[in-house]
Amino acid sequence: MATQAEQIDKAPGRWARKYPELGQEPLPVTPYIDPEYYEKEKARIFKKQWLYVALEREVPEVGSYKVRRLDCADTSVIIIRGKDNVIRAFHNACSHRGNTVVTETGQETYGRNRAGVVTCRFHGWVYDAKGALVNVPQEERFYSCFDKAENGLTEVHCDTWAGFIFVNVDAGPVQPLNEFLGGYADHFGGFDFAACDYGFTYHTTLNCNWKVASDAFAEAYHVDTIHAGSFPNVFEGPIEDVQLFGPHRTCSVRLQVDNLPQTPIGDLANQRSRGSLAAQGNASSLPPTLNPNREADWAFELSVLFPSVLLHVSEGIWFTHQFWPISHDKTLWEGKYYLNKPRTHSELWGFERAMVLQRNAWLEDTATMEDTYRAMLSGAKKVQHLQDEEILIRHNCKVVDDYVHG
């Protein structure tokens, strides 16, 4: 009787066989460098689809708010928790003369007002967390055609899943979030993201198209070469468990257990706390959908939450790479890494070491992106050649193209 392992197609070309609709041909460079293509992406993807903008725990109390700048949708949004404990989102634009209501201090701005209001600092117009305009200084000097009740903040669609807050700035009716997420939500929904309440963040602006940056993280083929320093031969094998969920996608990345670095410091750190992906972990925090057969070489799930979030989940670890287009040739990259809060100093030390290791890897990753883009701009190469293990990139190119031309 054949075992399950023997039935799994492991031969080269297996993902193309599983997903023949994605094709095998080289893919054009144009969508990465053409400003007009990017304008269509903005109009048909970033201004029409759900975007992950915050965690629920980033707005923990009544009156807590976060403002997220969305250059890709020509706006910024206020995400605020109201007195009714409901989280809503609004364009950060005053009804008076259009100033940003909350003054932004960067791509992400946080604050809280116990009264559950936000006040425009230009002329002092005050809005509550349901968007209603509740106070206008010198209101009596406005003309009779001005109606406070009709001049609240402009609300945007807002919904949550598994502690993640999403917005959709499309002014019309939109696909419900749970429908948009589909099977992706089922696959990851059992993981307790809130349990990982300790972490670190890096971000930088890169002179490249957002897809160049996203692609660079969406395959494990690069690890052997670019991460030869930080993760030597640790992830050299193929990806497994590729699944496509509508516009979203996932796979699992495997460890080469025999190649795990054996260093005195690394061994000590990994014995105390698993903060790094390059260490074996058990499956105590994993739902049955992740590493379902509890295989010893399973390292982490590498997934793409369309359009531009890479979500990785591992034992006691999750992290995201988010790629925010600023223009067709400029991208804000944010890497956010979460762990369980350390209980002892030795766990903290282990985590700190893991963070440094991860930082080094991310520096290696981001170092390629601007070079890739400059080379694309040269026009020397009209296409890119993807191998079978880069199936997630192929899927992304197809999904984006379907939206752009759809």
């Binding site: 116990r114 009264a115 209001v117 002092g124 005050v126 106070n135 200084p137």
Partner: protein, 100 residues
Amino acid sequence: MFTLCPAEQVPADEPLRVVLDDGHAVAVYSWNGAYYCTDDLCTHGEASLAEGYVENGEIFCPFHMGSFCISTGEPRAAPCSVPIRSYSVIEQDGQLLIER
């Protein structure tokens, strides 16, 4: 005399809104070991001062960040310019009382 509330109900770090028997709302403060009370409605906007922040003996209005002295009711920071009524607070058998 109006009874406000038991003294222990007033948090040390933020004001408490109390509606008196006649329907008038006041804000009660615990600051620097003493109790203070002012009207709740800001004289500038339409905000409840009890939803504001106390710092250095001043209540900062949550709408426009103007402020009043919680002891005298005098405006301390613009755009507030009209004083707010303040009340002497008496503590009796664990209860806070004011006269108005």
